[in-house]
């Protein structure tokens, strides 16, 4: 499959596909970060994660439409407000869902899967009723359109760079929040040992609710970033949910670093293969490789040494 390309071409192909992979990587990381918190830390299988992401995407869409009509002067900066709104909307919905649904099911993880699947169906239909079945896209501000020419054969789109910057920022923020803040300490304490955490005076129910809300909020930001590179439809979330779960499982469910590493390897493999094979075969091979590795090493790439 490499035969027809010269070495220089191959280098450019790998660089370009590598960059396309980096954008995919950013979306994967943002989605997987939220899920790593919800599934990895809390053990809740949130099948509606994709729908929380799409909620963020729709918030961004609404925001862009609002700024376009009422505040065209501020349009170039709408994206920052949209992201915050997306975080708040998804996070608030997440906390509501935790209160109404998830908190009754902490002892039955497989049942959370069914319940959240039901939730995802309801949300999908709600989006379809509100926003219509057709996919919507947002208007990008002019400073995000275009690309940077690195060499003759390599050029990098600016919106991709922006998405990557956002991803880096959020990843660092989440890592700081989980590993350096008092809240993060409490989250980790509750997840490690709920009764003991309760015994030392942590309000475990509150922590559960905020943790779930945080995970969903990050999914909302992921959706917001997603609008920059693709259009949004009611069922877009489902396209990513299996990949995202595989990333979290592949990375070793309780490890943020593992999640990032596995998102990186999966997205790079997929986008590099995509150039040489058809898109569907690239995906099949990537997922097969992941499942194969998981069969050999079920604990994932990175694992914490914990007693279970």
């Amino acid at each position: 499959m490499f035969g027809d390309y010269s070495l220089g071409d191959l280098g450019a192909i790998f660089a370009m596909q590598g960059f396309a992979g980096l954008i995919l990587f950013s979306v994967y990381v943002l989605m997987a970060l939220g899920l790593a918190i919800i599934f990895g830390q809390m053990g809740v299988i949130n099948m509606a994660h994709g729908e929380f992401m799409i909620l963020g995407a729709y918030m961004t869409y609404l925001c862009s439409a609002f700024f376009q009509t009422y505040l065209p002067a501020l349009f170039p900066a709408y994206f920052f407000l949209a992201m915050i709104l997306a975080f708040c909307a998804s996070g608030a919905l997440g906390m509501l869902v935790e209160w109404a649904l998830i908190r009754h099911l902490y002892k039955r993880p497989l049942d959370t899967l069914l319940a959240t699947w039901g939730l995802s169906l309801i949300l999908q239909q709600a989006y379809r009723s509100i926003f219509g079945a057709r996919e919507v896209g947002v208007e990008l501000p002019s400073w995000l359109i275009g690309s940077v020419q690195v060499t003759d054969s390599i050029e990098i789109p600016i919106n991709g760079l922006f998405v990557m910057a956002v991803t880096t920022l959020i990843t660092v923020g989440v890592a700081l929040l989980i590993y350096r803040s008092r809240f993060g300490q409490q989250v980790r304490a509750v997840m490690a040992n709920r009764p003991m955490a309760g015994a030392v005076g942590i309000d475990t129910e509150k922590i559960d609710r905020y943790t779930f809300g945080l995970g969903c909020g990050i999914a909302g930001v992921a959706g917001s970033a997603f609008t920059m590179i693709g259009s949004t439809g009611p069922t877009s979330g489902q396209l990513y949910i299996v990949d995202t779960f595989l990333i979290v499982v592949f990375g070793g469910a309780a490890s943020l670093l593992g999640t990032i590493a596995s998102a990186f390897s999966i997205s790079q493999t997929q986008s590099t293969l995509e150039f040489f094979l058809s898109g569907s075969m690239a995906k099949v091979l990537t997922l097969l490789a992941v499942v194969g590795i998981l069969m050999l090493r079920p604990q994932g790439l990175f694992t914490l040494k914990v007693r279970r």
Binding site: L105, L113, L121, I122, Q125, S129, V249, P298
Partner: protein, 389 residues
Amino acid sequence: MKNPVQTLTKSVTVNDNPFMKPIEWLSLAVLALVLLVVLPSLLDAFRLNLVGKYLTYAFVALGLVICWGYAGILSLGQGCFFGLGGYCMAMYLKLEASSVENTKIQSTPGIPDFMDWNQITALPWFWKPFQSLPLTLILVVAVPVLFAFVISAALFKRRVGGTYFAIITQAIAAILTILIVGQQGYTGGINGITDLRTLHGWDIRTDGAHTILYFVNGGLLIGCILIAQFVKKSKLGRILVAMRDKEDRVRFSGYSVAGFKVFAFCLAAAFAAIGGAMFTLQVGFMSPSFVGIVPSIEMVIYAAVGGRMSLFGAVWGTLLVNWAKTSFSESFPDLWLFGLGALFIAVVLAFPNGLAGIWREHVEPRLTRRVKGLRAPPPAIVPHGAPAE
């Protein structure tokens, strides 16, 4: 470990653990009566064919009762096995439908039409076995079971279980769908394998054939219920339940936990495969939309609504959910997904044992009291197993 009370009564009564209790015989008789007598005499050919389609899903639900309800393995990939069984059948039917005289307008006569459209000139090797009916009938069950065996043996030997297993089976369902859709020339792509005509010369498209297939379906389903009942009643079934509730204790008692889990998963796959093959015959086509994640999870909800611990409940649950789906999505297409989603949530939150649980806890005690009158004391309500974790 045997309950001392049970051993005591065993010496008194002749048979305290019959193959089926009277109430179960009664349930079976009612089910058989409804499926084989009442429905065929009430419904027209079109509706009966529709019920026949639902019944093929009931096979999957039945497998899930053993695999999920009893052994505690939630598989989100039952669509794979349903689809593989269905595709095996469809490949045989397609080859029969694309005989040389039927396909003489193609550039390569004698191969399925979608292959011809995709510039494939010879029959691929994995289609060859499906030229013979006996071999097809074996492969319909053998291929999915082998597939299930490979997946489950690899995972259970390494003690992957619970949520991880569910996610991996789901990923496998996704992979298989993408593969089938992507390899259009070999599988018919997104449209699936369509335009199936005859089974060994017998036209399966007529109303008469649909009715006969419906009865075959019902008969096979009752056969599968009896097999599942046998597994459930045997010592094997008890080990499955023990394993679900305290896996480590079973392992420490010297049982091969992985082996039993593989068995339960393969049995569920075999049932699903039979269902898939019957689906192809009853409905007349097979497509990737019955393989992927969405149908797989829907099949889980059939079992959950009926009751994950009840064989009969699973069949009734399947019929009921599908009937509701057809009638609701005909009249209120927008509301149907809200209804289905709410059903998922309600079943999980309020009725973890499904219809069968409601029946056992509320209807059955009253019925028994009514039947036996006031002479017998009201029977104690036996909790029927905690929901799987």
